[in-house]
């Protein structure tokens, strides 16, 4: 029985854990400006994260080693350090965006200015990282994050013309008022929001923390192949409700409150309150994941003891890096940079950093010395190679597009 419960828990956590501030903002912005004509980017991102997470989860289960430990080994310390610097910058940027997301969500609940909430959020986060056991942390916020299913309920209650929605997805048509470069800029943003590197660092390090082994591969695959696609559907429903309510009302999302408006339209106060629980839990959970991933990446590069299965004193440098990353993230939000813009930068830079860790994991997942007979199958490799090309194209195109479109204006 416990295996089934474990499986269900894993899947639910993957759904709840998938959506973060990047998905909430980017899907909201894109839905309100492009309708579902960019849904293909989210779908690509979801397929990509399934592939990437499954590979790195399998590598973690078989080798018992984290992503960055292997990245250094496969690229050498010099290229590994460049890789670590870029990925750490993106993860820390995402950490700041997630903390901004928690603050904005709590502001919507309490109408206390979000900047006043940020230091308290930092404090609570430090306590949770310091004291709460890894599995409790992941499960609670993963389950609570399910409250974002309110977007699915809202979509249902809006009685949309489903065939039209499907048509928008299958036959994407760029709105006339938006330029091609902005269209593809947001395609990369969506792709980066769905296929975020930190989710893979966290997922694989979690596998090592929970001592996964070959027998856990079934649960790992279920988490990935059921949980993430459902999480992706949640992202799509955020964009769908925005396209149904905000687009016709000529509202382009520029702050988090607009993302929740369609829920109030469709389901009133109760559904809105329920969704706010999801906003706070999903962003808080994602903040924890990114915070820990900052620690994981640095500790795994240098070979330090890391992880939450030991007391903080046993992993002193790991916890110090997490603490410093937390201080950086809180300070970044307190600079009063617009948290929504900060989030957009974080998802675009996620897309830039993606190949740096995707490529080494792809190589290791094929190394018989490491994986024995659990190497990639022929189909996985074919798909993984296609995504390697996609990931590199997105990474190379991201920054030029960001400059050309002045971050999507």
């Amino acid at each position: 029985m416990s295996k089934l419960l474990n499986l269900a828990l894993g899947v639910l956590t993957a759904i709840g854990g998938f959506v973060d501030i990047g998905d909430l903002v980017t899907s909201g912005v894109v839905g309100s400006r492009f309708g579902l004509s960019l849904a293909w980017a989210t779908i690509l991102g979801v397929v990509g994260i399934c592939l990437y997470a499954e590979m790195s989860g399998r590598v973690a289960a078989i080798t018992g080693r984290g992503t960055f430990d292997l990245v250094r080994e496969r690229l050498g310390p010099r290229a590994g350090l460049a890789n670590l610097t870029a990925s750490f910058f993106v993860t820390a940027l995402t950490f700041a965006a997630e903390i901004g997301g928690v603050a904005l969500s709590l502001e919507l609940v309490t109408s206390v200015n979000y900047l006043l909430l940020v230091p308290w959020i930092g404090l609570v986060m430090w306590f949770v990282v310091w004291r709460v056991k890894f599995t409790y942390l992941e499960n609670t916020f993963g389950i609570l994050g399910l409250a974002l299913l309110a977007f699915g309920v809202a979509l249902w209650r809006l009685h949309p013309d489903w065939s039209n929605l499907l048509h928008q997805v299958v036959a994407p048509h760029k709105p006339g008022t938006e330029s091609l470069q902005v269209y593809f800029y947001y395609a990369i943003a969506l792709f980066g929001a769905a296929m975020t590197p930190y989710e893979v660092f966290f997922f694989s390090s979690g596998g090592v923390e929970e001592k996964w082994s070959k027998k856990d591969l079934a649960v790992e695959r279920a988490n990935v192949f059921v949980g993430f696609p459902l999480g992706g559907m949640l992202s799509l429903s955020i964009a769908a409700v925005a396209s149904l309510v905000l687009l016709p009302a000529q509202i382009g999302v520029s702050n988090l409150s607009q993302v929740g408006l369609p829920i109030a339209v469709a389901g009133g106060k109760i559904l809105l309150a329920f969704s706010l629980l999801g906003f706070v839990a999903a962003t808080f959970g994602a903040a924890l994941e990114t915070g820990l991933s900052c620690g994981y990446s640095v500790a795994q590069y240098f070979g330090w003891q890391w992880g939450k299965f030991v007391s903080p004193r046993k992993a002193a440098r790991f916890h110090l890096v997490v603490l410093l990353s937390l201080l950086f993230a809180v300070a970044a939000v307190l600079t009063t940079i617009d948290p929504v813009k900060l989030t957009e930068y974080s998802v675009v830079f996620s897309a830039v950093a993606l190949p740096l860790t995707y490529f080494p994991i792809l190589v290791i997942a094929n190394d018989p010395d490491y994986m024995g007979e659990n190497v990639n199958g022929r189909l996985t490799n074919a798909l993984a190679t296609v995504f390697l090309a996609l990931v590199i194209i997105a990474s190379v195109a991201a920054i030029p597009l960001m400059i050309w479109t002045k971050a999507g204006q």
């Binding site: 350090l81 460049a82 609940v109």
Partner: protein
């Protein structure tokens, strides 16, 4: 390619953050008009958000705190739209100056209109809220027209 990873990454990041954050001066009349349309669109989005919020709130579908926060976040948005538009140096042409004054008035109406909504909402003064909303509605129409007439 991997060997120079670090220096390329750092360089690109600084360029990106620098150029995308600041608003450069407008060079041509057409570019200025484009920026004006862009500003009008963003302002229209903020005004529509406020008006939609009032309508849902009047229907009792919006939590108080959520409604107040939404109005203040939207007020910040439209204020920053006005600030960044006003900071653009217009090309010296009569038509640009006329365009600038016309839009600036609309933006000011929008900012003060949403501020009025936020004040009434915080006071939970229903009638004042509805009254402020009806006063704000024409601004939305004018902004929408401005966008249409300038290649929206």
């Amino acid at each position: 390619m991997i060997r120079h990873g670090r220096s390329i990454g750092v360089g690109l990041v600084t360029i990106a953050l620098a150029t995308s954050a600041c608003v450069g001066p407008a060079t041509t009349i057409a570019a200025y008009e484009g920026k004006a349309r862009r500003a009008a669109q963003d302002a229209l989005s903020a005004v529509n958000t406020a008006l939609l919020g009032v309508r849902i709130h009047e229907r009792g579908s919006l939590l108080e705190n959520y409604f107040e926060t939404m109005l203040s976040q939207t007020e910040d948005d439209i204020s920053s739209v006005q600030n960044s538009f006003d900071s653009i140096q217009p090309p010296n042409s009569k038509s640009s100056d006329k365009l600038r004054d016309q839009l600036d008035n609309l933006l000011s109406d929008g900012v003060s209109g949403i501020a009025q909504l936020r004040i009434s909402a915080r006071r939970e003064d229903g009638p004042a809220l509805v009254q402020a909303a009806t006063q704000l509605a024409p601004t939305a129409k004018d902004l929408s027209q401005f966008v249409e007439s300038h290649g929206g």
